[in-house]
Amino acid sequence: MSTRTDKIDALSEQAARGDDAGVSLAAAAWRRLRRNPVFLVGSTIVLLFVVLAILSPFLAPHDPAVPMLGDQVVRARNQIPPVQEGHPLGGDQVGRDLLSRVLIGSQQTLLVGVLATLIGLAGGLVLGTLAGAMGGWVDTVVMRAVDVMLSIPGLLLAVSIGALFARPNQYTVILAVAVVQIPVFARLLRGSMLAQRHSDHVLAARALGVRQRSIVFRHMLPNSLGPVIVQATLVLAIAIIEAAALSFLGLGNPDDRLPEWGQMLGQAQNVIDSHPQLAFWPAGCIIVVALGFTLMGESLREALDPKSRR
């Protein structure tokens, strides 16, 4: 090739780079995200709670399992330890330090949320890839099963699964919440896999005799993951709320020495008239964390959605 055509190529290449300055899709999305106040608020909240959960053993002023204010509890008169020196939020129904319980509770809540989302994501990836890549009767069978699961309201399904276990604990909660999310991920992935299957670059790969395995895992799957990742951040919020709901309904860990927000909320409902603060703090935390994940997920979806680009 002559140097002249090289120059032409270089020029046209510059033009092609103009709009996105030679950055990858992820980098372009990150640039949009960085300036998005919604994302900043959401990620700040999430980051704050993650740091809190990690540092909570050091931050908590007292052991959340020891009823050190037990002598102030008078069950007959419905008396619960008030706010006092060393206990900025007071105590709970059995005299344990409320602040410590809320702080340590963040660990359980985040753990449940993240694990449930990861398990749901893994299950959804397997089913969605199977359905999207194989098509035919595999697709039909998987998707009908998914439809059945989707036709049952999420929380109801989670409660039913949670109730299956004779001895509920935090892991049965995680499992129950995760299973509910599997069909959502599976359906989403299958949809974008199907779109990929008929895309030009998959046809081009087939025209090169590329093996089915690498067409699925190298050409179809990576291109289909975008919406699934976004859904995962949104599911984090849902998982936290659903896990809290299960604990609230008594399907969570019965051992209340390890605090969990949903469980604290459930125990607080007996005294909500006289001591609303027992419900206020864990409920507020659940709301704020869920909001943080939702804001983060929504702004991520917007940033990765090619249609919303200006």
Partner: protein
């Protein structure tokens, strides 16, 4: 024996509850090693379906393929999926229309080239990436080592098409099918890509099937041209013969509808009236008859057969009851 012998190839799309649609109807042609054969026609005339059928890339369900496509003596249409997959990319290469959407957006150019090399030429990753850089250099991509680690969206349109050609040629296929390889490119790049294809075909003795609606591309590249209409070949001729003396009214119309630089200003283009959808089925006559300026009564009653041209000499075939007279064709050439 020809490298590729297509005989009576038909493709029928059949959906439950719908009338079957014949996209390709008894197409026959040969491709010799090193020869460039053009398939020309409007959108929807069956060019791409023909090539996809030869490559075995059409869906299995709802598609009926009949006839024969022999590659080097092997019947491609009866090969198993696995055998066909082994041949695709190694013996048969294909270049697609839109270079951006034909490249995987999340995989680097390098990996897309080496993938084929590892698959068909049993190269190690290291060997493959050395070979990949050489390939990119051969198709005129400057600084190939850097390009290998880049992604499709970082390349210009021309570069992308070069990269696609490099990938298609990676395993030195003996037959390359180029499906409108220049349609998505601007004219200067088109010329470069065509020159590149011509060079590569000449240097490596690769046979090339050029699918296009652009007669300019045909004029520049093809040895033999098949003009398709509604799934059938209506005229076959060498490129010079075809341009000098178009005989089928459809070919004639295609040539007349191209704007020319040397035509007087203000002269109106003469388009072919109607659209491909104004067809009558081939079974009841000539499909082009409703749009044909030369149509006779016979044209809607008797289906014309593919026969040697009765008037003009040369190795050419024609499917027409009332072809354009060579004289008038020549006259119009002079007039326009």
């Amino acid at each position: 024996m020809a490298l590729l012998e297509v005989r009576d190839l038909s493709v029928v799309f059949q959906r439950r509850g719908e009338r079957p649609f014949t996209a390709v109807d008894g197409v026959s042609f040969d491709v010799e090693p090193g020869q460039t054969v053009g398939l020309v026609g409007e959108s929807g005339c069956g060019k791409s379906v023909t090539s996809l059928a030869i490559m075995g890339l059409l869906a299995k369900r709802g598609v009926k393929i009949s006839g024969s496509a022999k590659f080097d003596g092997t019947e491609l249409l009866s090969l198993s999926d696995r055998q066909m997959r082994d041949r695709r990319g190694r013996d048969l290469g294909m270049v697609f229309q839109d270079p951006l959407s034909s490249l995987n957006p999340v995989v680097s150019i390098g990996l897309q080239v080496t993938e084929v090399l590892e698959r068909h030429r049993d190269m190690s990753r290291k060997q493959a990436s050395v070979e990949a850089a050489e390939l990119l250099e051969k198709v005129g991509i400057p600084d190939p080592k850097r390009r290998l680690s880049e992604y499709p969206h970082q390349l210009s349109g021309g570069m992308r098409q070069r990269a696609l050609i490099a990938i298609a040629l990676a395993c030195r296929p003996r037959l390359l099918i180029a499906d409108e390889p220049t349609t998505a490119l601007d004219v200067t790049i088109q010329a470069q890509i065509l020159a590149l294809l011509a060079d590569l075909v000449r240097d490596t003795e690769t046979a090339l099937i050029m699918i296009t609606h652009d007669l300019g591309v045909v004029a520049g590249l093809c040895d033999e041209v098949n003009v398709l209409y509604a799934g059938r070949v209506v005229e076959r001729a060498g490129r010079h013969d075809l341009f000098r003396v178009p005989r089928h009214p459809y070919t004639h119309g295609l040539l007349a509808s191209i704007p020319r630089l040397d035509a007087p200003r203000g002269e109106r283009l003469s388009p072919i009236k109607g659209s491909v959808s104004d067809n009558i089925p081939w079974t009841t006559g000539c499909a082009f008859a409703p749009r044909c300026p030369n149509a006779l009564d016979t044209c809607v009653q008797v289906t014309p057969a593919m026969e040697p041209d009765p008037v003009v000499a040369g190795p050419r075939l024609l499917r027409c009851h009332n072809p354009v007279e060579p004289a008038t064709a020549a006259e119009q050439e002079i007039m326009s």
